[in-house]
Structure formats: C-alpha cells, structure tokens
Symmetry: none
DNA sequence: TATGAATGAGAGTTCATTCAT
DNA sequence: CATGAATGAACTCTCATTCAT
C-alpha cells in the first residue's frame, strides 16, 4: 500500500505518482494555486494552463472538463487529509488524543500549504452541485464519518460526552477547525502571514476548543 | 423605536421598510430565493427577474449591477442576524446564556427560513471578491466581534474559560453553529426536511457543543 | 418677418419663439450641449433630461423620439446659419465679398457658441441615416446650393473662376471652413481656448484660403 | 524594402502582411466594409464576423474589443494614405506639384476603394473619443503635418502664398479634398456611381480648387 | 503528446420607449 | 403638463470546449 501514509506529518505538495506525466502534475498543481487564489468561478482554464506553462488544449487532454479538473484537485487534497485521519484512527491513543492529532495535522498543513487548505476549507462546500455531488462530496462525508467513528469509540470508552450524536460531535469538531482556519486565511484571527509562534498558539487554542466541545462536561482539560 | 427588536424570535421574511417600492422588495426576495437555490454564479439576473415577476431591466433600475443586488441581499439578512445578536447582548443573562440564545436564534431562523440561512452560511464566503470585500465582510466581522465581546464578559465574570482568546472562542462558537447548519442543509445530519422534533434535538445538541467549547473545563454542563 | 435677420452678427442661443413652452426650450438647449459634448450615440435621453432639469418622460412629450429631438437641434442650428447666408445673399456686395461674409459669420458663431458649431460640423454627417436622410440632409444641401448660387453669380459677373462647377466651388469653400473649424475644435490649429486675437487671425486666413480656392487664378487677393 | 512604395498609384485592398493569419485579414477586411456601410455605432461585431465568414468569438481572439478592431481598421487605411504622402514628399517636384499628387492619389483611391475612403473621410473624425484619442488621432495629425511641411517648403521656394500658416494651409487643402469626397460619397456632387469621365473631371477641379487656396494670389493656375 | 486557432452559447448591461398616475 | 417606474430588445464580451495539425 504505497499510498498509505503512517506518518501524520504534513506532506505537500502532493505525492508524485509514478508514471504520472509531468505536465499533468504541473496542471494539477497550477489548478490548485489558481483555484485557491480566484475561487471556482474566477479560475479559468486559460489561467491554469498559463500558470502551468502549458498549452491551452493540453488541459483537455488530461481532464475531460473543468469540473473534472477541479474535482481532481479536491480529491487529491482530501485524499491526503483522509489518509492522515485514517492513519491516526488506526494508530494508538484515546479518542480525544486522536481528535487532537487530526486538528494538529490540519493546522500543520496550513503552515506549509495554505493554498491547499484554502481550497479544502473555503471552496469545497461552495462549489457547484456537479462537483459537490461527485466524489468530492463523498470524500467529505467520509472524513466526517471517520471522525464520527472516533467519537463513537470515545463515547464507548467513557472519554467523550454521550449527549451528542457522533455525527453532530464530528461536525462540531470540524466546524471549530474550519472557522478558525477561515479566520486565519482572511486575516481576522491572525495576521495574513503569521509567525511560527502565532501558529503554535492558535494550534493549542483550536485543539482546546474542539476538544471542549466533545469532552464530558465535568472532565478536566 | 420601531426597528429595535427585543424578542429573539426568528423574524422572516425581512421587515418591510416603509416607503420602499413593492417591486424592489419583490426583487430582493426573489434574489434571496434564487440565490439560495443556485448559488452566486448559477443565479442569473433573468432568473431573479422571472421569480419576482418583473421585467428584466427593472432589476437594473433598483440595483446598479448583480454584485450590488446580491450584496443587498447579504446585508439585509446579516442585519437581521446582527440585530438579534445585539438585542441578546443588550439583554439580561450571563455570557453562556446569551451565547446559547444566539445559537437558538440561528437554529430557529433555519426552521422558518432555510433559504436565508443557506445564503448566509454557504454563499457569503464563496462570492466574488467585490462582495466579500464590501460591506458584507464588515458585517460578518461585526458579528464575530459581538460574540467575542460576550465571551470577554464571560471570562471576566468567571463563566467562561480564559485560555482562549475571545476571537478564537467566538470563531469556535460560530464554527460549531455553521458546520452543523451546513450539515443540516446538505442532509448529512438530518433529513432534508427535518421534523420539529429533529430540529429541537439538533438545537439542544448544537447549544451543548458550542458551549462546551468555551466553558471552563471543569464546569458542569 | 420676425425670423428674417438682417444682421450677420452671431446670435446665440437660439431665438426664443413666442408661445414655445419654456421646458421645451430647456430640453432643446440641453440637447445641444450634451450632444456637442458626447456625440450622437454617446448622448442619452437621460443625460438630456438631467441637463435640462426635467423629468425623463417629458422629453417624449415634446419630441416623438431621440431622432426627432436631435433633428430639431440640427434644424434649429442650421436654420440660423441658413438665415444668415440668405441675408447675406440678399444683401449688397460682390460674390467674393458675400462668400467672405459667410465665412466670417461662421467663425464668429464659433467664438460665442462653439458647442453649436461642433454639432453642425462634426456631428451632422456621423448621425444615423434617419437623421441624415431627414430634413437635416436637405438643410445641409440647401446651404450648399445657396453658396453655389453665389458662386454662379460671381462667375457670371467675372469675379470668380469659371473652371469650377458651382457646386464643386461651394463644396470647396465649405470644406476649407469645415476643416479649419474642426482643427480649432480639436485643438490642432489653435489652443482649445483661443484668444480673441487668435480667432481674428484665423478668420482672416480662412477667408483668404476659401476665396483663393474660387477666385480666378490671376486675380489679386 | 518591400513596404516602401514609390508609386503613388492607389493600392487596395491593403497589403498582405506576411505571417498575418488569413482570418485576421478577413476580419479586418470585413470590418472596413461593414464599418463603411453602417458607421461606427451601426456596425455590430456580429455583422463583421458574419461578413468575414468567421465565428463570433474569433473577432475577440484577434482584437481585444470593438474599439481596438476599428482602430486597427483606421490605422491600416491611414498608414496606406500616409505612406503615399511620404512617398510623394520624398519624391521630385515642386510643392504645388506634390500637393496636386496627394489630391490625385486620394481621388484615385476613391475610384478603387470607396469604402476605405468613406471610412477615412466620414467616420474617423466622428468616432468615439477612445478611438479618436488613440493612435488614429496621431496618425491624422501626422498626415496634416506632412502636408504642412510641403507647404512650408513651397513658401520658402516662393511657390505658395506666405500669408497662411502652414497648418492652416494644410487644413484648407485637406478640407477641399474632404468635402468634395463627402459630396461624391453622398451623391450630391456626382451620381453615386460616377463614370470614369465624371471622376476625371472631379479630379481636375478638386486639384484646381485646392491649389487655388494655397497658391500666391497673383499666380497663374 | 502537444498546440492554439476556432466555435458559439450564454450572461451582464444599456437605454430608447411606453404608460399609469 | 409632468413624472419616473417599468419594459425588453439589442449588443458586447467571456470562456468552456472542440479540432485540425
């Protein structure tokens, strides 16, 4: 299982798939960048091709159409995130510790690849139905369900509060993560180019808030 | 002071401003609906005009262009939400109680006007920069700051945990709310047309999760 | 004959017709101004109404449509010019002297009402066929023919060269006038706001050039 | 020096620039025709594309927008005229002879390419400011200045009257040419499809009139 | 593979004109 | 007379997609 990643370290840019044409990678990479900068509708095929240093028509050689291109971008990014979640879930630690790891992973990725995070956080849930309904939607739900399973285990083991349905708890954890990342991206919570120290402080707080939402009311932090 | 609203009950559709032309209202109302259904880019002026039962050009009689129209929609919806938050902040109750009231208000609005919520939650951040950067952005930040002030008071009075910066705490509360609403809108957390009972249950859980994120670790629910 | 003008002095703005509604005049006056500033296609009914300080629809009360409005503007201005030419033609003086008077009159008008000249010189031929084909065209041709008649008399009386057909001679005279006025309007021949002295010098030269075109080759200036 | 033209013969349609895409030429050619027929505002991009037998969007592949397209048409036509003037100026002959050549050249072009002349004479000075202010304006002024330089030489050499400023003299020459061409175009001076003989007669007369405007008063024709 | 010319449906915007008051 | 809301046809420009080379 070459794609299985055991480490939870942020890994960007995406893993080079052996045998994948170099220009295809370039296009995908450019798409991520342009997409992050301009959003789904503001990003034109011409921009992507230009950014990739590739001819117009080549994009259509590798991708059926715009939607497929962008869905590929989503998928790739999510696959990475999903892989990390799976690794964490399969690894050791109590449910709260695993949830904290997931949050930390996401915050770490933000440090090295804010563009990717911007796409995942801000654009995914806001793309047209074609994309939303496709594999991306499924992938997003998968992430949610993986977290929900963690929660379920935590509830069984008495580490997490039981008055929240697992999916609601998972949504709450991801919501805390999402909105804080959005706040960082838009410069509301940190300066647009935060220092390492800023990021560490944010990481601690976001972990604390996310766990607070799902820990049993009387439990110590 | 007719505009001052003391109740936190959901109030939709938007208050009729006296002297405002009826057709302008119709256009605004139609825009909200079409916008919620199709998103910013999927919604064409022709659709709005059609939905409002009004001639194409009239939209341009009342609004300079598409951006301004949609910004007006945003503003109106946010103003309502903001008004509610202000009323709650100015009213009685401890910080945690006030925060719970804000969440409950938003969940109540969802019951009566899911389209409005869909627009606020899913569409606002995906809109083009013109809109994002305009008054909408400001309005959103204002909401965040109002919650942050509530948090600050709660921290002073010993009701809320002090290890979170107020803005981070506010982002976390809104994140929990946002992601759960998004989950309801997309049918992930509830059926697309949830029953009253479903909604009540969701409301309780979301309030619990949001408060959990900001209450002191050892405090009872 | 109140409209018959014996003097060749520039008379602007146009003569108030008794019984003509004041607002109609205002509209006509505004149309001349806006038209001169923005040209036929750049001039919108809204601009004219705004400039006249009058409601939108009132323009359509007094004029059937845009073409008729602008044709009225043309007509009025040309009627003035035509009236002057007729006065001159009916008055004393040899053909060359009369032609010189026509040129001087036009140059004088430019001094007091450049907007009117701009419309007559630059806008008439660029207008849509409806206008060109209408009374304006006729009026323009009338002016040409009046000059041609002057030329004819001059040829009979031995004051003007006979190797030019009268209409060609007339076109040449008007051409010299037209292009020099255009050069003044665009700032190519004089500064955009020429002094009195500049204008006097231009007047002398234009008269000299125009006459040169039609005088017999060997005649003294 | 392929582009250098020593002959003053009318050369239309425009010279094929090697390496220029065929369809670009077709569009430019169609634009000249449609433009001449309908004028700047009456000519729609769809018409041009249709006339060129080309898809709508291709026009925008080669030209940024309508203004740029039409400015290109202007420029090309003027460049040809300008080239001819330069050739004449650089060639032999006294100033009056050169001026006569310029007039004859223009009249010859009219015979072979009335559309081009219509555009240059009737449309250029009447286009929107964007165009007027662009390179076209400059080109027009260049033509004027070239003639003015001819005049200046003629004045120095005693062939032309000295009581006219060179630019005024140039404007007068071009004015005679312009108004007579306009008269021919509109059918006022000749039938709309004049015979060769008509044209020859017109040519002689226009040359005579134009020279008359600038020759010393007492000089023989 | 790779290129970029070519296509054309679609959307936003303008503005002359009408009409109820 | 006077107003300005209401209408909708027309036109420019964009951009995803195709295709010949």
């Amino acid at each position: 299982m070459a794609r299985q990643r055991k480490s939870t370290e942020a890994q960007h840019p995406a893993p080079p798939v052996e045998g994948e044409p170099e220009k295809r990678r370039a296009i995908l990479h450019a798409a991520l960048k342009v997409f992050a900068e301009r959003g789904y509708h503001g990003c034109r095929i011409a921009d992507v091709a230009g950014e990739a240093g590739v001819a117009y028509g080549l994009v259509y050689h590798y991708f059926r159409n715009k939607d497929e291109l962008l869905e590929s971008v989503f998928d790739e990014q999510w696959r990475i995130f999903l892989g990390a979640i799976r690794s964490i879930a399969d690894g050791p630690g109590s449910a709260p510790e695993q949830i904290a790891s997931v949050i930390r992973f996401a915050m770490d990725v933000f440090r090295t690849a804010p563009a990717a995070v911007r796409v995942l956080i801000l654009e995914v849930p806001r793309s047209p139905d074609v994309v939303r309904a496709g594999s991306t939607r499924q992938t997003f739900e998968t992430a949610m369900r993986l977290i929900a399973e963690m929660v379920q285990r935590g509830q069984r083991e008495g580490d997490l509060r039981t008055d929240l349905e697992p999916l609601v708890a998972a949504a709450s954890v991801l919501g805390v993560l999402d909105m804080n990342l959005a706040g960082m991206l838009t410069g509301l919570l940190t300066s647009p180019q935060p220092t390492e120290e800023d990021l560490e402080k944010m990481k601690r707080q976001v972990v604390a808030a996310a766990l607070g939402a799902v820990l049993p009311p009387g439990s110590p932090s």
